[in-house]
Amino acid sequence: MVEWLSRLQTIDRRWIYLSIWVACALPFVVNIKLPVYVSPETRRLYEFIEKCPPGKVVMVDSAWDAGSQGENWGQVEVVFEHLFRRRIPFIVTSVEVTPLGPQFADKVIEKLVREKFPDRQYGVDWVNLGYTKGGWQAMQQIAKDIRQQYKKDSRGYSLDDAEHLPLMQRVRNIEDIYLIYSVTYSPMEDWIPFVHGVYGTPIAFGCAGIQSTTYYRYLLSKQLVGMLVGVRGAAEYDALLHPDIRERNSMGTRLIVPQAFGHLVIIVAVILGNIGYFAARRRRG
């Protein structure tokens, strides 16, 4: 028996991959629902956006691409939906991290406009300023005078073009921005000292789960108003937007159950590996 158990330590990793594949695929094809409990950091962001006064604009630093869309897609999708629903105008950009960010944001917005908000208009309800480089310098420039950092939007319209970009005619600097929501695998912490620290503008992050551990400290010190952590954060935000579980269909909600199943397989694998380890130690005496 001990010898058999000790073999658990040497299971071929490819069997584990296959188990994860099957476990994760199952909830996609079988209707399984699990409850979602909303964490404080998600609720804080939701409530902060709910309190947005009229006339203010939200800036979304959507600096993610294919590598992290499993987590970041859902995080921007739910916030964009919330902004569209509340009719809060927003500006999309990607500072420093990836030039593909604005394109991916466009995909999410196009989907939302097509499926849920067909009356929302580019230039009025949102503007995509595209990619910009410069890290903290770019952030400071955006805060002081947005036109010094961006001359045109991603479609080639001048920021002073009142016909195509009426929204940008009332956005000059950081005073017009209610919140900066930075979504990427690992949001740039420079937003905190150079924008929140200097101008007091509220900042929120949407980050990969792996990075969240380093950002929780900013929530405690109130340097961040909220944070969406991985798929979980996106699913929680979707739950706040749609209390009725049947109405939820964001990326976060779709992935959270398969993720739970995948985690279950990993937990079982860790337990089996430990049983194998102790059995092998016992066999050696």
């Binding site: 994760c24 996609f28 094809v29 789960g209 551990t213 340097q223």
Partner: protein, 235 residues
């Protein structure tokens, strides 16, 4: 990949499976795809960098400046000075020359000087609120304030316990990182040991979150393969 043509979906699926073939073993298809991805990324970044950053923020103002300059110092001629920024930037490339390496040191020095100044500001604005937040009352009201003061919130055991754990963890971990003296005295030794355990707990949280992220990346691809490529009906 909504709205994508069939050939695009097939191409994406083949590339995804080709990358995942590494899970079975390292192979030539995986390496080929990896190199293609890197090449595509570099090429795309270069174009975007020019079109959305260098052209509107540097090239266009500079050429406008020169046009004004050649029209008899018309207004806006000062923009021609942007050429100096470009010249300074090109000094970086002298790192490839042994003879003129010293030229690159000019911009390296400027970058280091500016960086040092900025880091000072950055660290101050980022970490001072952190330090201020670490001073917490061990007996606290529900809103986190101490018993003395203007707040009328009720005493909260939960908040107090939270603060005790928070402050205790900071102290223990800081003691663990005191390397200027040997941890011989029992209270210091035990506190440092507890600090090490608490660090292990945080590393465990890091690892758990790592698994969560990797799983999410995989799930997005799995969803694509099942829904968009294999057309499996999904919930």
């Amino acid at each position: 990949m909504e709205g994508a043509a069939t050939w695009q979906i097939w191409l994406a699926a083949i590339v995804t499976l080709g990358i995942y073939s590494y899970l079975i073993s390292d192979n030539k298809i995986y390496r080929l795809l990896l190199n293609i991805m890197i090449g595509l990324g570099v090429g795309y970044n270069f174009i975007i960098m020019w079109k959305q950053v260098l052209q509107p923020l540097w090239w266009e103002p500079m050429t406008q400046g020169f046009t004004a300059l050649f029209n008899g110092f018309a207004p806006g001629s000062a923009k021609a000075l942007w050429v100096l920024v470009g010249l300074l930037g090109t000094l970086w490339y002298f790192q490839f020359s042994r003879k003129y390496l010293w030229l690159s040191r000019i911009v390296i020095g400027m970058t280091l000087g500016a960086g040092a100044g900025v880091v000072f500001k950055q660290q101050l604005l980022m970490n001072m609120p952190q330090i201020a937040d670490s001073f917490r009352p061990l007996v606290a009201r529900a809103d986190g304030t101490p018993l003395v003061g203007g707040s009328t919130a009720p005493l909260s055991l939960w908040m107090s316990l939270n603060n005790i754990i928070f402050v205790g963890t900071i102290v223990c971990v800081m003691v663990y990182f005191f390397f200027s003296f040997e941890h011989r005295w029992a209270p210091v030794r035990h506190t440092a040991k507890l600090g090490r355990w608490l660090l292990m707990v945080s590393f465990g949280a890091f690892f758990g979150n790592t698994v969560m992220t990797r799983m999410a990346v995989f799930l997005e691809r799995l969803q694509f393969l099942l829904r968009d490529w294999l057309k499996v009906p999904m919930f």
